[in-house]
Symmetry: C2
Subunit: 517 residues, 2 copies
Amino acid sequence: MTGENEKTGPDSDDGHRSATDVLLARRMGIYTQNEAIVFMSRDCPICVSEGFGAQSRVRVSNGKNSLIATLYQTAPGLLKNGEVGLSEAAWDRLQMEEEETVRVSHPRPLDSLSNLRGKVYGQRLKTHAVKAIIDDVVAGRYSDIHLSSFITACSARPLDHAEMVALTDAMITAGSRLHWDRNPVVDKHCVGGLPGNRTTPIIVAIAVACGLTMPKTSSRAITSPAGTADTMETLAPVDLDIATMRKVVEQEGGCIAWGGAVKLSPADDSLIRVERALNLDSEGQLVASVLSKKIAAGSTHVLLDLPVGPTAKVRSQDSARALSANLMAVAETFGVQTRTIITDGRQPVGRGIGPALEAHDVINVLRGDMDAPNDLRERSIALAGSLLELGGAVPAGTGVKLATQTLEEGRAWQKFQQICEAQGGMREPPKALYSRPVTANRTGKISTIDNRRLAQVAKLAGAPDAKAAGVEIHIRIGSKVSAGEPLYSIHAEAPGELDYSLDYVAANEDIIDITET
Amino acid sequence: MTGENEKTGPDSDDGHRSATDVLLARRMGIYTQNEAIVFMSRDCPICVSEGFGAQSRVRVSNGKNSLIATLYQTAPGLLKNGEVGLSEAAWDRLQMEEEETVRVSHPRPLDSLSNLRGKVYGQRLKTHAVKAIIDDVVAGRYSDIHLSSFITACSARPLDHAEMVALTDAMITAGSRLHWDRNPVVDKHCVGGLPGNRTTPIIVAIAVACGLTMPKTSSRAITSPAGTADTMETLAPVDLDIATMRKVVEQEGGCIAWGGAVKLSPADDSLIRVERALNLDSEGQLVASVLSKKIAAGSTHVLLDLPVGPTAKVRSQDSARALSANLMAVAETFGVQTRTIITDGRQPVGRGIGPALEAHDVINVLRGDMDAPNDLRERSIALAGSLLELGGAVPAGTGVKLATQTLEEGRAWQKFQQICEAQGGMREPPKALYSRPVTANRTGKISTIDNRRLAQVAKLAGAPDAKAAGVEIHIRIGSKVSAGEPLYSIHAEAPGELDYSLDYVAANEDIIDITET
């Protein structure tokens, strides 16, 4: 290896050096989400001497931080001699300052790709192999191509118990870990797939009002129109750092924060973005994603809600039992007590699908409004009751009673408001500017509702990025409707998205099936 | 769907319209290889009304052509109001002219993703499902994430016979197809994995000199340091359009062209780029890739070389027989006669690994130079002999004799030069500016050579993009060497790449194994 002598720094043993690879960094003002991109002139001497071309993966370092980026090349004139352009994501991750220089060099070969290839071809992933992959993911060394291959391989070659444990462990140790000087620390999670099933804020409010400690970290949507963090964000800030989260929990007994902001299981966010593009969410990654976040968050007792239905994420009682067994077995390895509850997943819960629409349902239930969706209320009480028992707040068999009282007497609503205030202030969820009803094309009784395609309608309307977008359902399975009566309304923040969603509905008339009576 | 009335055009039934989605296209001078990228201001009204964000997939159309691109957003000032920036790849594919406008809209939902997901979860790919995927790939609707998932799924869930036939057929019909008014039209292909095994130019020269018609189309490297097209390109132009190729074949009886330039099986190039990044090359995709190009090229008789060795692409005689059976069975479905030959793949063939280095070997054999690599010569004669028999140019059992005479009498060399001239003129392969020997660390006998890692050395040195880069081998299995004696030399066009390659060698001392005697 050629190279000048250089002060040993945080990145001293990584990458290659030469005396001429220093470039003045220029902030390009190009937003790419979290993709690190650098721009170098086609005739830049470093491109020539290092053999870099468009789409090369390059290492960029400013001494303090380093990352792997994709290189695009530019025609003469766009950049000055000796300049390298950085996308906003690259600029932020390197914590660049104006007039700072960077080095651009070849990255180390991505050794963990051989582990990934082994998995593709059917080898079991050993602990060190998973750790190598996840460390590379967290360090930003995997491009979208590599991330997609890893996610696909884990779906096509399902992970076994040891692999799930290894993946969970790798995802925990790649990020921060919270420790609480309290025990128990309770948590709950719904294994997705059911639109509108937004029980978490209600359960946290009940459990914490009853004295349990519940520092809840939630994720954003993976393939759904809203995650709990997306919904909660319309009611209060959720991107709490660890210090703030700790303060909220010490003061109020619980919180409802976005897990990504506290860097718990940071690999998950990279994986989730690609899972979303593929609409894939494998069982092994699901187990690791759920448990790594709970364990990293310091939870000791975890309740898991598994909705089952023909168009839910879990399709059958058998699959639910298998998933439950995997979750329990992996959790046990880490010394965490879990309870799983298999629930009805045949249709959406509540009325709203989409961040703000679901937030309105949550508020209605907590306030005890007359028109609060009863299904969401009942589910929340059942799960909260079970959690109160799991956490030892009440003797077995009395959880539901206490949960009901806590909700009815307004103590849960009060606690929820206190948590929102402690997180930075409660706010009113937005309402969409555009909405359009979708009507019944015949008279009859609602026989089935396709959760997946209804979620797709909400996503095409802009959810979860457009907070107020989504679907508001006016019927349930068994409802009688007349032709022309509204089945649901689509809400959107932009007319283009409303059209996009309506086009999909026009091509999918059987999302809600009506049997003639 | 809202939208103005509009003249029906080539893209009239695709995408969404509104009166305000017309933007002035600006050529950004940003090179991204073949990735289509568009740049829009964050505060552009279309982004707001359509709900576009960074990394959105958008449809771009100029009336003549349309494509799907990835959107990056820009800070104020980079683009003027009403402007959209296009990467060079997007600009070229749309065949844009200066001052032209484009429409940017939501793409249709990518329906074929459900076929892809089905495959991931173990369903067999039906004919229409494969066709839908490949059509979307060719139309540029698949992002790298989707391409990577498809490639990984086909590796993790190997394709069965019907799937291979369907994939081959979809890849043929997605591109151009050549028809020749001659029969037989012969072809040969080596199922890669063996560095330096550059027999094709020699075989074409022999076969054509003996009167067979051989319009050879070759691919560029997938995971190797050189494909035949890469090597041949250092000797003559290979990016012939169909008219030129036809002219060359009519005049000379054969050609050695790059398949991509004649748009045979165009999906293959998109897939290959991602396979290269993953270093994955599944059997089903290999069969479809090989046969789709041969069939689209109008071949009637195809000879297949399958090198077998512990570090070749095919590892064992059993795998070779299985692959051979798949290739023969799929070819038969399309009415193509094939013969497969299983060859020795324990070590590289010839001396050079890398486009220009291999070209020098080819020329040496064709010219009958005293120091021509004998292994390359012998293999070429054996394969050419077999092809002469398969194509009916000689009775069974006499092919090798005719092939040897054709080479020794200089008729193959003469034909090769004529083909090069007809393709645009023969040229001298380049030589690298930088080279460095790698020496034996002990005295003994060469016992094994790791093809894969030696190929990696050549790739790190810059091959195939750097034409003169690669590895020149000085020994063979069984050679006796003394400590300090050169085993091979690394050639590079840039010092950074030479260093990069040498670092890899330093960490991989056992690429060539020496047994002490």
